[in-house]
Amino acid sequence: MRRSVQLIAIASLGLGALAACAPAPSPPGAALVDDTPRAADGKPDLSGIWQALGTAHWNLLDHSPGPATLSEMGALAAVPGGVGVVPGDEIPYLPAAAEQQQRNFENRLAEDPEGKCYKPGVPRANYLPYPFQIVQTPKNIFISYEFANADRLINMGEPTEALLPTWMGWSNGHWDGDTLVVDVTGLNGLSWLDRAGNYASDSAHVVERYTFIDKDHLRYEATIEDPSVFSRAWTISLPLYRRIDANAQLVEFRCVEFTEEKLYGQYRKVEAQ
């Protein structure tokens, strides 16, 4: 908001350079009044704390309510039903990959990387039930995720290639009008896409699109292409909500210590009988 005011103030001073960066026409469904926050360069300013709502972290597809994987948790960790975030409600797995997804689902309590506090990868990081913070600088865009201290720097300069595979991949961004487009490669394929065992491999290529719906809502889309797992590219589409709470801040969720019993418990010393 403050930047919008600044923009008007600067524009009224007659700094013509900004005119070249005038907002592109609003996407369909956008608010009639363009209240998109803007950076000094006229680009949309995505800075802020964002979070997905809904149940995409449980399952990207339509799903009925279900029990917790640990019965002791009762309703505390039961799965709420939810409408999926994949247009067409289908993930086009190749036959062998569909079987792998089923195995993942069956073994999710033991195998889901989220349960081990492993970095969530892209796109999963963006719809975990934890906030993340975008800091947009004149040069680059940085995203810090509350979960597992994951982060990524989106290179907005000349695209560069991933040197090696990583959990969070390698992000090159550019603007398509008022949409931030991020091309993600170099993912190590060890993270999953949700708690239902949906997954992609280390050959996945993810193209993300971030577009303001209004000043406090972003449309997030991620198109995933991975010929070793899917028969065609497919897309996730969901809104991201700005955390407007006064004094909202990320609170470090260093979850390692909550997983050590799970990961190492079997190796603890047990006194000889």
């Binding site: 940085f142 810090s144 201290n149 090696l164 004094n247 470090e252 190492y264 010393k269």
Partner: protein, 331 residues
């Protein structure tokens, strides 16, 4: 792997600390004539960039007592430090590491890029205050904390809880810029409302608001940071650390720990870094380390998935269980 490093550092490190005693950070760092501190488009001092503390790896935190209040090495002392660096480089290039004790076997040497060794410096110690470059005396409470730790009844690897927070990939130290064995990369990013300081080691980013908001009551391993500018200097105050055994050097710190960091550009590619550690339950007075960092645009930060790749923890615990089983089998 961790343990072998620890051994290597233990054997190399102590004499190194004593023998190697770098720019006198106590003196105001001269600025180039005609140079003015860069500003962001919104008028804040611009301290962005890649600022690895790698080059300071060879300078000990504490000064040799023999140097007193002098924090600049003589030519002879500096030459000794250069010889030391050359010896380390030669040793790092060896295929096999020397035995750490007379009756132990030589081991495979890690590749020579593994350890950060730094650049020989004329600054004697990282600590610039107190004047003698030494850590102030510890409080009785801190000594009791250390004694309690020494009296623990569990073995070195009965469980993961017997290993350090660092080995568990939880946190290395609250004093992130203190140079360590490797991964000394740091990157600073800014917009109008936040400063981000990214630390390569254990892959963490501090999101530092500039709006003057108060501290909360939330404790975390990274602590809670608040930032503001004083003239051309970024000042970051951090407290609310979740200590749980967190250490600075080898001293476990208290919940009262507060760290004030100052970042000041001194040239187109240089930044003066200062950190004052104030923990009245641990040290009898605050102390400050300071050094000038050279920007290294060729040192981008890569993901450090410490926990995800922590095979060492499983191996340490499994190894200890195997050793116990072998012991039980002995007649």
């Amino acid at each position: 792997m961790n343990q072998r490093f620890a051994r290597a550092i233990a054997t190399l490190g102590v004499p190194l600390l004593l023998a190697s005693l770098a720019v006198d950070a106590q003196q105001a760092t001269p600025r180039a004539a005609g140079w003015t501190s860069p500003k962001t488009p919104w008028g804040h001092p611009d301290v962005q960039g890649f600022w690895p503390s790698t080059e300071w790896r060879g300078v000990p935190l504490q000064r040799a007592e023999s140097l007193g209040t002098r924090n600049t090495l003589t030519e002879d002392e500096f030459a000794a430090r250069e010889r030391q660096a050359a010896a380390e480089a030669a040793s790092d290039a060896e295929e096999y590491a020397a035995p750490s004790t007379p009756d132990s076997k030589p081991g495979g040497n890690p590749p020579d890029y593994w350890q950060d060794r730094g650049t020989p410096k004329t600054q004697a110690s990282l600590i610039v205050s107190p004047d003698d470059g030494r850590l102030p005396p510890r409080t009785a409470e801190a000594e009791a904390r250390i004694a309690a730790r020494a009296q623990k009844t569990t073995g070195p690897a009965d469980s993961w809880l017997d290993r350090s927070l660092y080995e568990r990939c939880i946190t290395k130290t609250p004093l992130n810029f203190l140079p360590g064995t490797y991964n000394n990369g740091h990157e600073i990013l800014q917009n109008e409302d936040y400063v981000v300081i990214r630390h390569e080691m254990i892959n963490q980013a501090r999101m530092i608001p500039l709006d003057g908001r108060p501290f909360t009551g939330i404790r975390t391993y990274m602590g809670e940071s608040r930032g503001h500018f004083e003239n051309d200097t970024l000042v970051v105050e951090t407290k609310n650390y979740l200590t749980n055994g967190a250490v600075i050097g080898d001293t476990p710190v208290s919940d009262d720990l507060k760290i004030i960091e100052k970042f000041t550009r001194t040239g187109e590619h240089s930044l003066k870094y200062e950190a004052t550690v104030d923990d009245p339950k641990t040290w009898t007075q605050p102390w400050t380390m300071a050094f000038e960092i050279t920007e290294d645009p060729e040192y981008p930060l890569y993901e450090y998935a410490c926990h995800e790749g922590n095979y060492a923890m499983v191996n340490i615990l499994k190894g200890a269980r195997a050793a116990e089983a072998a012991q039980r089998k002995k007649p």
